[in-house]
């Protein structure tokens, strides 16, 4: 579904990605793990067009998307839930979710009724969001904001979701909850690329995993294979 080949990208003169290659097959959860600064977030940003790749290709459902504007890539079916969640603080929870489905809804009137089914599904997955739907998103706790960010991505009915560090800054109990949600998304057949610091938990929920080091994929394999790899055991699962 999502294919990244020999991707180079960076900020200014520093090239962070030095030829990243990875693939996310339809209906699979793929984890991207690695140390801080290895280029995980940059990979996601280069895929969704938040930074322009300098070299290499990104294809979504067979269509080349590298170099497109972020909003255009989003319209083509890629939902990127960014690092730090980035919910729209002053807007209500429900408005945040509606904006997630921006590409499918009429611009002026009747968008609420047209979004009702999707909205219902997201509220079913996250009952807390339903309770707080009129509250402004900025007043939610970190965990709730993360649920909102995931819900917002689901509203787009995307081909692929990129989920960047959903556990960042959350209490351990909430992290467990987040991984339960990811498991449920996996059961629902959602195609997902997951960036995580918690390598162990990430491997538990994923079908395939890539380990990133210094802007390149260093090791790749199924979670079972990675568990047998000495380097991975020493560096990430110790």
């Amino acid at each position: 579904m999502l294919k990244v080949e020999n991707l180079h990208a960076g900020y200014g003169l520093s090239e962070v990605l030095q030829g990243t290659t990875l693939e996310v097959p339809e209906g699979k959860v793929v984890a991207l793990i690695g140390a801080n600064g290895a280029g995980k977030t940059t990979t996601m940003r280069a895929i969704s067009g938040m930074i322009k790749p300098t070299k290499g290709s990104v294809t979504l459902g067979g269509k080349a998307i590298e170099g497109y504007a972020t909003s255009r890539i989003a319209r083509l079916g890629l939902a990127h839930s960014p690092e730090g969640r980035k919910v729209f603080g002053p807007l209500s929870v429900e408005d945040n979710l509606l904006l997630g489905a921006y590409n499918h809804l009429p611009m002026f009137f009747g968008f609420r009724s047209k979004a009702a089914v999707e909205l219902g599904k997201v509220y079913e997955l996250f009952p807390r969001l339903k309770e707080r739907r009129t509250q402004s998103a900025g007043t939610l706790s970190g965990g709730e904001q993360q649920m909102l960010a995931i819900g917002r991505a689901l509203m787009a009915k995307p081909k692929v979701i990129l989920l960047d560090e959903p556990s960042m800054g959350l209490a351990p109990v909430i992290v467990l909850e987040v991984f339960n949600i990811i498991r449920r998304l996996k059961e629902a057949g959602i195609t997902l690329l997951l960036v995580e610091q918690f390598a162990k938990s990430a491997l538990e929920v994923s079908d395939y995993a890539y380990v990133m080091e210094h802007g390149r994929i260093a090791i790749a394999g199924t979670p079972a294979e990675l568990h047998k790899d000495e380097r991975v055991l020493a560096a990430y699962l110790g």
Partner: protein
């Protein structure tokens, strides 16, 4: 008298509201906004001269304002924002100068009266003398601002507008084009400027110099209230308008411009984010 001053202040507030619209989406404002007011007023006057009925002139003038706003965005702002430069400041000032000399060449240097179809006799409302014209200013200002606020809150496009103001990157990730949203905000800002011109011209006159007088006060209002204060501009506009008419009555009309500048300096010294503004921290 104070009431007429306050109603003038509503026009300042309306122009300041135009600053807020573009500042919300792009953190940029059009320093040539006063010239937009003036050019739209002149254009509307020409529409009347060409025999267009009064009630058709208003939408015509507003459309012209929208078009000017879009021109400003395309020629002065977009490139600068793409380069992440502050070049829009100089470019919009230059646009204003160009607008000023174009107006002098097309319509002449003299102030011209702007006809109105409303009766000019003053009415007694709660013991205050007030002309129908002044009432039309209040109605016009609140209608335009109300409709734009309604658009922002009730339509999905309006919510996208708010989303770009809140977090431009995240809005792009939802598929909202920030560039188009900024265009929209400049179009609306042009519409607001044209409305201000059409409302104020019958009370004052239309002339190339009306731009600089108006923009200074609108700018004071915007800064004193805060560029993200929403309806805060209305209150500050009313206060400034009333203060102006008081000072010109008691101290002479030469002092008319003083309150705006004094308020501006005080606000910058005491509350740089505006009386109603939120303190923002720029993360680097």
């Amino acid at each position: 008298m104070v009431v007429s001053g306050a109603l003038m202040g509503l026009v300042y507030a309306l122009i300041a509201y135009g600053f807020q619209l573009t500042f919300a989406t792009s953190k940029s404002i059009n320093f040539g906004q006063g010239e937009l007011v003036m050019l739209s007023a002149f254009f509307s006057l020409s529409l009347l001269d060409w025999g267009m009925p009064y009630w058709l002139m208003i939408p015509g003038g507003l459309l012209f304002g929208v078009a000017l706003g879009l021109v400003v965005e395309r020629t002065c702002v977009r490139l600068a924002l793409e380069q992440k430069s502050e070049g829009w400041i100089l470019m919009t000032i230059i646009f204003g100068l160009l607008g000023f000399s174009s107006a002098e060449n097309i319509w002449g240097r003299d102030d011209r009266p702007f006809p109105t179809s409303l009766p000019t006799d003053a009415l007694q409302v709660f013991g205050v003398n007030i002309t129908p014209l002044e009432i039309s200013v209040a109605i016009g200002v609140f209608t335009v601002m109300g409709l734009i606020e309604l658009f922002k809150r009730k339509t999905l496009l309006g919510k996208a507008f708010e989303a770009v103001s809140a977090d431009r990157d995240a809005a792009e990730l939802m598929g909202v084009s920030a560039t188009r949203t900024i265009m929209l905000s400049y179009g609306l800002s042009g519409l607001v400027a044209a409305m201000a011109g059409i409302l104020i011209s019958p009370i004052t006159t239309v002339g190339p110099t009306m731009a600089s007088a108006l923009i200074l006060k609108a700018f004071s209002v915007a800064v004193v209230a805060g560029l993200d204060s929403g309806f805060g501009v209305v209150l500050v506009g009313i206060v400034l308008g009333a203060l102006e008419s008081l000072t010109s009555f008691y101290l002479g009309s030469g002092w008319r411009e003083a309150p705006g500048l004094v308020l501006l300096i005080l606000a910058l010294a005491i509350r740089p984010n505006g009386v109603f503004g939120k303190a923002t921290i720029r993360k680097v």
